[in-house]
Amino acid sequence: MLNFLTYLINGLSLGSIYAIIALGYTMVYGIAKMLNFAHGDVIMIGSYLIYTGMITWGMHPVPAILLAVVGCTILGITTEKIAYKPLRGAGSSLAVLITAIGVSYFLQNLSLLIFTANPKSFTSVVGWEGVSLFGGELKIQGVTIVTIIVSLLVLAVLQFFINRTKQGQAMIAVSEDKGAASLMGINVNRTISLTFAIGSGLAAIAGALLCSAYPNLTPYTGAMPGIKAFVAAVLGGIGSIPGAMIGGLLLGVIESLSKRYISTQLSDAIVFSILIIVLLIRPTGLLGKKIQEKV
């Protein structure tokens, strides 16, 4: 039973990380209608920034994370301006997808060049040891608790931002209809930039938490969590903020429990199977809106 609890809590923590990444993914997808394959690599860049800040420059974790958030935000806005914005309105949606893949290759190989392929051992940004319950039988690491709390906080702030502020409402408007939004006096370009900024900033936070829990940092660290987070976003219904949260948590718990009870090697296959089953029953994800097709 305690064993089960341990894996459940670990799963929730992993799921929270997926959820934070998925939130960024789902916002960007909602507004730019593009699969941002480079999102996972922004996580990796953020982690390297924190690593450089903490190890090379000997910074305290908090300013190091701030540095990474700022760095990733700038990175997100720049890539959007240089690589994605010129392709808005292009004939095929594949064009921007391939460009995102190009950006992903670029970021991976840039960090390969700077930091080499040798894995870096990441120091946890959470100094706290954690708690131990039931007379030391159930140990919960500090990172695990912090991760879950941070993700809930992020969700709450984002929900408030989207639903209660003018900028958030502008985002919803742009994601529903760019043309109509711009007629209503919304600056579409600035809103899209803002979305990329928020998504990339969240990626930096996710990077800090991911590498604190799994302290092995290579240029390819971000790729798989990026894909999984996208799966989580689709699972929850892409474009929906609570959906991304639920999808992320579900994915993390399933992954952790199937690793423990079924097979370590097959856990990815199980996670992807869940996605397929859910999409077959609900083609727009758990909380996705059904879109009527107009002729």
């Binding site: 699969l35 392709l87 095929s92 391939i98 893949i101 190009g102 060049l113 090697q265 077959l280």
Partner: protein, 356 residues
């Protein structure tokens, strides 16, 4: 004999492949090719085949699939399984390869069909992520399974096991299949590429192909004129999977150790093939072949630049996409590009001619 414009175009494509084959054979016979380059020839062909097969889905059918490496994986494993099992039975190697090819292609087609049933109900990016998921499941499953036979019969498990007495491990978990005979050669690969081209071009230029392209251009309009959308989508997807499986057979018979690792069959490979298709021109079969050949060989030839080569490759990729697809760049080309310059000059000449 008179050919239509389209047939001529297709014959030229096959001619390019044949010319390339003759050129490489001559260079190889006279010793002008390095060993390294000769090692790239078969991979070049199977990636070209895979690119053509993906183009059938992405370009002709208009659906995005990110799971073609999974079909390659099925083709590779099923054919390799057969070849390893009958390796010492005295079957002549061309016949063995032919049967392996049929098995690999059919297995991939079967999986393409089975996966297509649920997947093709989805649209756009959902389809992309589900095909990616299927590709990963196939890869994951094949790298975790153990299969072997001994005196007690055939054993399959997800855990490693010991064989009793005489027997052989066929699939050894993450170690994959060992000792596939090296049956594929450049000649075989080029032949398969030509067959692939013939099959795909025939489909595209037939009534079936026109129906498929009608679905791509407007699904609802196609449905309303009586085209059975589901069955044509299934047909294109299954044929595409079969051809990808054929590429997988070439792959597995070109290597002695076959493992279902991410390097060979992960979603990265599907994406790499998609890059070939898009840069070659969506819907252009000839473009896919040329792009696959150039883009596969280019990074390999730039090995001297070591880590910089992939960085350069990624920048080239982004810049090419921007130049080819950005509305701003297209408008710029139309106004100031070479073609526009020539057109304007012709117009001016025409005007001068009228005056005099």
């Amino acid at each position: 004999m008179k050919f239509t414009k389209q047939t001529k175009h297709d014959l030229i494509t096959c001619g390019i492949v044949a010319a390339f084959y003759i050129l490489v054979t001559i260079l190889s016979a006279t010793g002008h090719l390095s060993n390294h380059f000769r090692g790239l020839l078969v991979p070049l062909c199977y990636y070209a085949i895979a690119a053509v097969s993906l183009n059938l889905v992405v370009g002709i059918l208009g659906d995005l699939s990110l799971g073609h490496a999974g079909f390659m994986c099925i083709g590779a494993f099923s054919s390799s399984l057969f070849s390893v099992a009958v390796k010492n039975s005295g079957l002549p190697s061309p016949l063995r390869f032919l049967i392996a090819l049929v098995i690999g292609t059919l297995m991939a087609a079967l999986f393409g069909f089975l996966i297509g049933i649920p997947v093709l109900r989805l649209n756009g990016d959902y389809l992309a992520i589900v095909t990616l998921a299927f590709g990963e499941i196939i890869k994951n499953f094949l790298s975790a399974v153990y299969l072997g036979y001994d005196e007690a019969g055939i054993h399959a498990s997800f855990k490693s096991f010991q064989l009793q007495g005489e027997g052989k491990m066929l699939i050894n978990g993450a170690m994959g299949i060992q000792g596939t005979p090296m049956d594929s050669s450049f000649t075989v690969a080029v032949l398969l590429l030509l067959i692939t081209l013939a099959v795909v071009m025939n489909i595209v230029n037939s009534r079936t192909g026109r129906a498929i392209m009608a679905i791509r251009d407007n699904r609802i309009a196609a449905e309303s004129v009586g085209i059975n959308v589901t069955s044509y989508k299934m047909l294109a997807f299954t044929v595409s999977a079969a051809i990808a499986g054929c590429a997988g057979v070439l792959f597995s018979h070109n290597t002695t150790t076959l493992t279902a690792s991410s390097t060979y069959f992960g979603y990265n490979v599907s994406i790499m093939i998609l890059v070939y298709v898009v840069l070659g021109g969506i819907g252009s079969i000839r473009g896919s072949v040329i792009a696959a050949a150039v883009l596969y060989v280019l990074p390999e030839m730039l090995r001297g630049l070591s880590t910089y080569r992939m960085l350069i490759y990624s920048i080239v990729l982004i810049v090419m996409m921007l130049i080819n697809w950005a509305p701003g760049a297209i408008a710029f080309r139309e106004r100031y590009g070479i073609m526009a310059f020539l057109r304007r000059r012709n117009e001016n000449r025409g005007k001068e001619g009228q005056r005099s």
